[in-house]
Symmetry: C2
Subunit: 195 residues, 2 copies
């Protein structure tokens, strides 16, 4: 019985990830998710409470998995950004879900607790690396983190009108563009200005 319940919840989360990725939160239809998961709307509301809460459950799981599998490496921020890029390439629904989230949930002040904790931890590690002198002190930690996270999405949402011009670029090339960009942000000011 317990096993049935877990299997149903698993199928619902997988079907929900697919539905939300394709249509966003407002556009997602609970009955389509239920049908795809061989379940029904009543079970969704029983297990998750509401469509918004189902979305949050999907995001929570993805963020927790990504954060534990791809921890920040303050000694190698280009590599960290590159690994996030790899994840978005391998699982395109992640970048889409993260974007729907920012478009549709930012205004209501919703927060994903595990993401808030992860960001708090990442900022603290950046701060310590700045004190230790291994990351440039000229950045506010939140600015540097935002730059790195934003650049990891460099190829996730290319305008279709630009896409034709980059279509022949290999994944390896695109990854290099992104990790080089992060590296360029970390170049020592002294080295650049030559003093």
């Amino acid at each position: 019985m317990m096993r049935d319940s877990q299997a149903t919840q698993r199928r619902l989360l997988d079907a929900a990830a697919e539905e939300f990725s394709a249509y966003g939160i407002a556009g997602a239809r609970v009955d389509r998710i239920a049908a795809a998961a061989r379940s029904n709307k009543a079970q969704i509301y029983h297990y998750f409470g509401s469509k918004d809460q189902l979305f949050d459950a999907v995001m929570n799981e993805i963020v927790a998995k990504t954060a534990s599998e791809i921890p920040i490496d303050v000694d190698d921020l280009p590599g960290f950004a590159g690994r996030l890029f790899d994840r978005y390439e391998d699982s395109p629904h992640i970048a889409r879900l993260a974007t729907w989230y920012r478009l549709e949930r930012t205004l209501d002040g919703a927060q994903i607790e595990v993401l808030a904790d992860t960001i708090e931890d990442e900022l603290e590690r950046i701060r310590k690396a700045q004190v230790a002198g291994t990351l440039p002190a000229r950045y506010r930690p939140a600015d540097l983190l935002n730059l790195v996270l934003h650049l990891s999405f460099l190829w996730a949402f290319v305008f279709p009108e630009l896409q034709g011009h980059v279509r022949r670029s290999s994944r390896r090339h695109r990854r290099q563009v992104l990790t080089d960009a992060v590296a360029a942000l970390l170049v020592d000011d002294d080295a650049v200005s030559g003093d």
Copy 2:
């Protein structure tokens, strides 16, 4: 009569920009747009054809206006990115519309002609500046353009969980972070390596 028609189309485009910005393409409701514009659904279909075509008309107008008011300046790409940032700050609906567009229209191969033309022109200018030696030749033009356009959106979609940490940053500060980042991408490799 002509004036009435133009005034109605103007109100429809404005109402549509607001509706699409809030709810996206799938989430937008034509009857809400009609009501907000003191018009009706029949007029929308008469003037624009379909909901998708109405969205395209909104995007076309915004892209054309942005491209003509903020032309690329290959001698000052940080300034160009800064001016795009200013536009997104002053008109937050632009970044939202551009993001819905990429989420909802990328898959069907739709293209906004004026955006395709603008990008073609921008790539050509970058190419020429590379030949002239005023932009680093190490970038493929599309890579550099994507980096600059992507960085101009740096602050448009901060994760809400990170937003709390940057809330006290002034607009001027956030702009500087972004223009500095673009400038860092353009540092001469020779200067960095010191030879």
